[in-house]
């Protein structure tokens, strides 16, 4: 029986994830939470003004897994991101394809946030994290 694959990020990368999450939270207008999680829903680094990173991590992995089966069913390739557009803001879940195990970045933002700006920043973050 195959064991669960332990997820390893170097302490250096982890510290960078934290800094980057913190930077997005502080610099991008309207962002209230940034959570980086494993695909099976464990938080590996976050910065939040409110909320519980563990719950966001679990929900992000579910959203991402469901988006992956939808894109597979529709023969649309790999799922890249999901946006939940709401009355008072939006939540963005973006995948990070790393060779050993993927990650998902979640960003929760309020009304002041501009979707395009957040999406751009998050996709940059995802690209850097995939290479980190």
């Amino acid at each position: 029986m195959k064991l669960g694959a332990p997820f390893h990020l170097s302490s250096e990368t982890k510290a960078w994830v934290h800094r980057e999450a913190q930077r997005l939270l502080e610099e991008v207008s309207g962002v209230v939470a940034v959570v980086v999680a494993t695909v099976d829903g464990f938080d590996v680094g976050s910065a939040m003004k409110q909320g519980d990173p563990e719950r966001v991590a679990a929900m992000a992995s579910s959203i991402f897994a469901i988006s992956a089966v939808v894109s597979q069913e529709a023969s649309l390739g790999r799922s890249r991101s999901v946006t939940i557009d709401t009355d008072e803001g939006f939540a963005l879940v973006h995948s990070v394809h790393r060779p050993e195990a993927g990650l998902v970045i979640s960003v929760i933002a309020g009304q002041e946030a501009i979707l395009g700006q957040v999406a751009y920043q998050v996709s940059q973050f995802a690209r850097d994290l995939a290479a980190a």
């Binding site: 064991l3 997820f7 099976d40 464990f42 579910s62 469901i66």
Partner: protein, 178 residues
């Protein structure tokens, strides 16, 4: 002809995804991802939902849904149990404390279990007999519930069909007054 929605739950590794795959007539929808939790010896785990479909000999259609096992996904339990006509709890006797696991789901679905038919299927019983079916029945009785408890192998289609049949029999008994 009626459509039934049945929900499978139970601890990680009990065989929920396997059970749905064993009986589904359509390729099951599976949301497995790499498991990074080394306290569990499995390579992949469900984090969204499983979905499969089954037609019974009488023509009834069954839609089978499976939850993730881990309690951190309990928000999905609440979503997936909506409109379910029955719940199947798959237990895994090889785990350290299967009765404690059982409590997790009896507690997690306590509101629904007041009137939702439920069956418990116990897997890996032959290899791990220290906890018996009567221990499950005793624990269920402590919750003031009476639920059928069966030994099953989630990989065997017949066993999974038996679980579903038992659940539907319970459903009929409650519909027509037992």
């Amino acid at each position: 002809m009626t459509e039934h929605k049945i929900l499978f739950t139970g601890p990680m590794g009990a065989g929920k995804t396997t059970a749905i795959g064993a009986v589904s007539e359509t390729p099951p929808v599976i949301t497995d991802v790499v498991n990074t939790d080394t306290s569990h010896s499995k390579s992949h785990t469900t984090v969204g939902l499983d979905f499969g479909q089954l037609t019974l000999p009488g023509g009834d259609r069954i839609r089978l849904f499976g939850t993730p096992g881990q309690a951190r996904f309990d928000f999905l339990w609440k979503i997936l149990v909506k409109n379910a006509l029955g719940l199947i709890i798959l237990a895994d006797n090889s785990r350290p404390d299967p009765i404690k696991d059982l409590r997790t789901y009896l507690d997690g679905f306590s509101d629904e279990l007041k009137d939702l038919p439920c069956v418990v299927g116990v897997g890996r019983l032959a290899e791990h007999p220290s906890v018996g079916l009567e221990d499950y029945l005793d624990e269920i009785a402590r919750y003031g519930l009476v639920l059928p408890v069966l030994e099953v192998d989630a990989r065997r289609r017949d066993d999974v069909v038996l679980l579903i049949d038992t659940l539907l029999a319970q459903l009929e008994a409650s519909l027509y007054g037992a």
